[in-house]
Symmetry: C2
Subunit: 417 residues, 2 copies
Amino acid sequence: MTLNNASWIDRSLLKAVRRAVGTAPISLALPHVEDRPSTTSSPIGTIRIADRATLTGLVMNPEVVFGDAYSDGRIEVDGDLVRVLESIFPSSRVVRNWRWRMMSKWLAWAQANSRYGSSRNVHHHYDLPTEFYRLWLDELMVYTCAYFPNQDTSLEEAQKAKLDLVCRKLWLRPGETVVEAGCGWGALAMYMAEHYGVKVKAFNISHEQIRVAREVAEQKGLSSMVEFVEDDYRNITGRYDVFVSVGMLEHVGREHYPELSRVIQRTIGDQGRGLLHFIGRCRSLPFSVWIRKRIFPGAYAPTLRESMEVLEPAPFYVLDVEDLRPHYAKTIEHWLSRFDRAYDTVVDRHGTNFARMWRLYLAGSIAAFRVGTLQLFQVVFTGAHCPSVPSTRSRLYSSISQNQDKLDDELWTPAMS
Amino acid sequence: MTLNNASWIDRSLLKAVRRAVGTAPISLALPHVEDRPSTTSSPIGTIRIADRATLTGLVMNPEVVFGDAYSDGRIEVDGDLVRVLESIFPSSRVVRNWRWRMMSKWLAWAQANSRYGSSRNVHHHYDLPTEFYRLWLDELMVYTCAYFPNQDTSLEEAQKAKLDLVCRKLWLRPGETVVEAGCGWGALAMYMAEHYGVKVKAFNISHEQIRVAREVAEQKGLSSMVEFVEDDYRNITGRYDVFVSVGMLEHVGREHYPELSRVIQRTIGDQGRGLLHFIGRCRSLPFSVWIRKRIFPGAYAPTLRESMEVLEPAPFYVLDVEDLRPHYAKTIEHWLSRFDRAYDTVVDRHGTNFARMWRLYLAGSIAAFRVGTLQLFQVVFTGAHCPSVPSTRSRLYSSISQNQDKLDDELWTPAMS
């Protein structure tokens, strides 16, 4: 094979990748060939591909090969990784070719969220050593979207603001009981108990997270108020005033929404209230295959319409839906910048491949929330006979002291209206 | 037939009605027989039925016969009509027997919201003389759910607060263009132009409402800012920054959601934003047959899930959903009390049957919103490439002057985040 011939093949393959990335203002490069975008003279970045085998893989199976080759260093990105991904994402429809769809279906089957499957899926991600997450999360270890009341709110403040927002949206009152499905390291459960005087029973199937959560609750003297249970959400029993789940619906799997619906029905009945906080979409689509292979096995982000499969069977009354997309983009920007500061430590402990894989996952998530392929929905709902509901949302935006005083005035009791 | 025999038949029929109303604490009475509730010694009201024929009808076809017999005086209700209806509604599942379902299907066919059908359906309700509605609506003639920031807000203030809430939710800016589908007597269109400096094109197929709206716009000197078009929403053309529709989705009919979706897509594209305000449900169910026969031909109140059939095909991004159920109950309480004050005038102009029919419709609507068989959803959405979105909802709860100042700070522009 002559060099000319080689170059012709490479150029053809590069052109195929170019078609896939559409009008993204980026350069594509092999060691000796570069394809510059036709749309701009100043590209925002360059994707450097180590060899023809990787390039061929990129044409055949763009998403997975990009992820894996970036992780092991066969692909390098010059320029701001987030901006480069952001520029590629809008044209990602090309990515979902027949190989992608076959792999997506296979993963959906192999990673199904049965009781055993859920346990294995959760173990893959959440049972990583807590010390790893401590490197780049906030001090309360909240691994879900924060809430930034202002542009300059810090991550620590924004996570507390999110926990408080959830409590306010649920108008918690001292002495009430709450059940939490999927509690991470327990930050929300402990915040509710400490600041709102409620008793919380919190479920999680991550052994590592439950272990740490119990330790922290002990240290904070909250063990009598918060009980952490290492078990599947499907095993929740008992009656509570409130059901809450932050960042778990993504891991339930759409085929299990009816099960989750029944769990909520039997725990809060028709008098209680609840909140679901989850990564969603505006168009029905399977999760990224690469993310499911390497990061979140079994993950699925529902549209708002699909998420109603959890709430409409009861039926629950939906009071409030908020899309916190800008807040998740900002949250992960904080995570990524902390991750980058701790990068060498991550490499030392987990190796370069792992570090690069996680960096790509975080950067890709920022891009997805910026571009809007992902959303973050908070949905507040009540049972059909919840005795009273807040008549406006203004308490969510008043100061905390005002909030507590005003609650009673603001509750609407249908029978007395 | 002996009196004994008669009384036995009547008692059996009363028992059948009793079964249908479940545990409602109400008495049921024929001229010479009364059936008191077993659950309480102090019933909240009595439903007096004039004769056995009406009673038989009530057993066979409860909803329609109750509505029609109440309207023409064969049924009287002692006690608070709203509370009596409220006590009956939770057991209304019995009402939907096979006769109800057949009639419901027939109405769905006969009242389908084709272009011609919509025009005929809308004419039935909205082309009543404006003077009739003036008797019991607020001064701006807003015939949709108001917004009560406080318990003691007046109806006039609450309707203005609603108009302003809609404008804030859409973060209108001077010079922008808005298209409104289903504009009533034009209150929202004029409010937007007057207070937010936007140009509005507002569509409605009610000849009477458009005639009045144009008159008022002329008087207010707003004719250059607001154009009222007597035409079907399906005929909307042109490009706008914002699409808004308050109280029209109920009249679109679910089979026409894809058409509405296309109208919104072509008017605001993927950069615009919009708001849908509509009566919804938490469980998928046809509208009351009696209401469709006598009051709102062709009406359908979708669940949130069903309403997404309008927004997900684009896809549009849903930013915010609020259930204003308590506010609609309160709004109609105001309407009913004004209606009652003007009752004699209504009877003089339209006859007793009409006045009683409307009284039942208003009272029944209050009961439905109190009990929760009806909800009122406001859904805010944007195109997938809307250049910026508000990052929090706090501007909805600040004073108007703060609101305008803060808007620029609060908008989130993904590409710059």
